[in-house]
Each structure stands twice: as C-alpha cells, then as structure tokens.
Symmetry: C2
Subunit: 211 residues, 2 copies
C-alpha cells in the first residue's frame, strides 16, 4: 500500500456522507457541486475535491457529483456496506441514552448488547435490550465477534474495561469516560468528553464580571 490516506481526511468523510444523505432527500436534487457541499459544511470546496480525489474521480466537470453515487462510494470506503454490531458498556444515564438512540440505524451500526456491573441494573431493559452482567463481557464479545464498543463507564474503570474489550477482540472504542486511555495494541480509541469541549470553547468567551 503505497498510498496512505491521512487520518484527517478520513475524519471528514462521515461529515460529507451525513450532509449528502440530507441532500439526497431534497426533492428534485440529483447532483451537488463541491461548492454547495462546502457551503453547507462550512469548509472550502477545494478541500472536499482534494479529499475525494484520494479515492477516485467521482465527479463530472460542469455538473458536480451525483449524490447517490457519491453516497454509495463513501459508504464503501468507510466500510459501512454492512451494519457493525456495537456493544455499550455502562448502563448509566448515558448508556441508557445510547442504547435507546435510533440514530445508529441506517448509518451503519446497531447496538447488540448493554453491560453493567450493578446488580440493581442487570436484567433490566433499556432500548429493547436486557442489561447483562459485565462479568460476561469478554465471553459475549468474543463469542459474537464484536469489533466495536462504546464506553459509558466511570473514569476509574475505563482502562480496565478497555483492556478487557481488547482482549476479547474489540478493535475500536468510542469512550465517553473523562480520562485518557492507554490504547492496547491494534485498538483505535475515539474520545468524547463534553466537559473538554465546553472548556475549549470557554477560552474564547469573555467571563462575566462577578458583581
């Protein structure tokens, strides 16, 4: 593989895909230019064209991109032609929200199981799934050949769960735990900490003078 595509390019593809899926639902719309897409996404059109050119020539001069065709190509590129099974670890409020979220459907993923170690929660149902005992996490994940997991556990146990998931064959983890994890070999970790995002923004705000 001589041609390694930059992570930052990969990171934008889902945004293109998301907006294209929105566009394709608009009546009388078949094609979209890089300018239109750029306008909607708030980035430059040249960037979109260059990003896409890493994977082939999907557009047509004078016309732009055929939306459905580009959606199909991006879906292939991102390995979304089949639905990925995903497990959620941690059945707190956030785990509950994730398990109940309908937005995974049709975008390439579906939650297949929810785990927690709280005896109070085990056996209860969330989003149509019965909460399972974390003790069975490794076996269940390995058994089902799961490659993706979402972590909504307290920071204190996040590393331990990460290691267990990796041992069971998980290759990608989306972590909501407010802690930097040590990524096991061959495992990709993506983070989401609302407080970190708020803190990044508060830098740009003017503090209200305390009266």
């Amino acid at each position: 593989m001589e041609n390694q595509i930059p992570d930052i390019v990969i990171g934008r593809l889902p945004l293109y895909l998301r907006e294209l899926n929105r566009m394709v639902q608009e009546p009388d719309r078949v094609t979209a230019s890089s300018h239109e897409l750029a306008e909607r996404l708030g980035i430059s059109s040249a960037q979109i064209r260059k990003d896409l050119s890493h994977f082939g020539e999907f557009g047509k001069q004078g016309t732009g991109y055929h939306i459905q065709y580009l959606i199909d190509r991006l879906t292939e590129i991102l390995h979304l032609t089949q639905e990925w099974p995903v497990v959620v670890v941690g059945a707190g409020f956030l785990g509950h929200a994730l398990a109940s979220y309908r937005g995974f459907q049709h975008r390439g993923f579906h939650i297949t199981a929810v785990f927690d170690n709280d005896p109070e929660k085990i056996g209860k149902e969330v989003g149509g799934l019965v909460i399972q005992d974390s003790a069975n996490l490794e076996a269940a994940v390995r058994e089902a050949g799961i490659q993706m997991a979402i972590l909504s556990v307290p920071a204190a146990v996040a590393q331990d769960i990460t290691d267990k998931l990796a041992a069971a064959g998980v290759k990608a983890i989306l972590s909501y735990a407010p802690v930097s994890l040590n990524p096991p070999d061959g495992v990709i970790i993506s983070y989401s900490d609302p407080v970190v995002q708020l803190q990044q923004m508060s830098y740009y705000l003017t503090p209200t003078p305390t009266p």
Copy 2:
C-alpha cells in the same frame, strides 16, 4: 493582539488540565515533568512544553511543573475561574443524561436549566431541574445572561434553536444533533455525533466477511 494562539493548542489544554487534576490526587506527587504528562496522554513531551510556552514559563528546569500551580494557570487561561452556567435544550434521553451528569461540577460548568417543547415533558424533573417550555428559551437565556448551551434536539430543529440561542446572547454551543449547523456571527459551535466517530473508526476496521 500580536500573538494569536492556534485553536489546536487551545484544544489540548483541557486534556492537560484533566490529566493534571488526576495527578494531583495521587499521594506524594507534587510535580510532573512534560515527559510524564506526555506518556499518559499519548503525545510528545515537546508538544506539551511548546503548547504551554505560548502562555508563559510555568516549569522549572530539572524539576518539571508544579502540578497545582499549572492547574491554576490553565484554569485561568481557559476562563474556568468561575463556573459557567449552561442550558440544555432537548430533554430526551441524552438531555436527561446531561442534566443528571455530575461531571460538570468542579470542572467549570453547571447546568442551570433544561428546555423541551413536548408538553408531556414540561414540568417533569430531571437531575434536580424542572423541564421548562422551549417557548421561554430566549427570554430565560437572555434574562440570566447565559453564554453557553448544549443542544440535544433532533437534527430538524437544531438550526432553529441555534439561531434562537444566538439571538438570546449565547456565544458557544455544544451540539449533539447529527447535522452541520450554520454558525451565527460570533457563535462558536462544537460538535459531537457518536455515529460520525464510529464511522471514522470503521474505515480502519476489516469488515467481517458475510457468511
């Protein structure tokens, strides 16, 4: 202002702060070197030193950084010396999770109100707050001088709420809606879409051959 600090540098400061707060709780630990911090965060020590040097000389050769001192400096830099009031718009499962999340406390933020437009939800309580009618959103936000908001509403109404929040004086929005928003003038928007993050990662995975 001759010295503009890159956004990407600002983006890392909260991560430093988070890890330092973890370190300061460890017994017998007073200082930390850039190497230790880098090791824990999975980045290079030079980057940490260079990032911090944008704001001053906080370390001491041969010793490293005094953890509590650095925490205090970062807290000032990020404007976290006072708690920012934040409103949550959208009281679905995610809004519920956010309103109930204890992690905002002590990290610079607190949720002061939750809004929804569903009559079934208005008046109910989540995380110690009574859900208010979205119709009162603008007035309430303007009244309280709120500058930050979290969006956990469906994509279809996210832009409308964004514009209303901006009109009411909000300057920073953390959006969980799966859509690219058109940022009103002077408003910073940060996004969090779990599906986008999963899709970024699925690119790097090997699809399981369908049997």
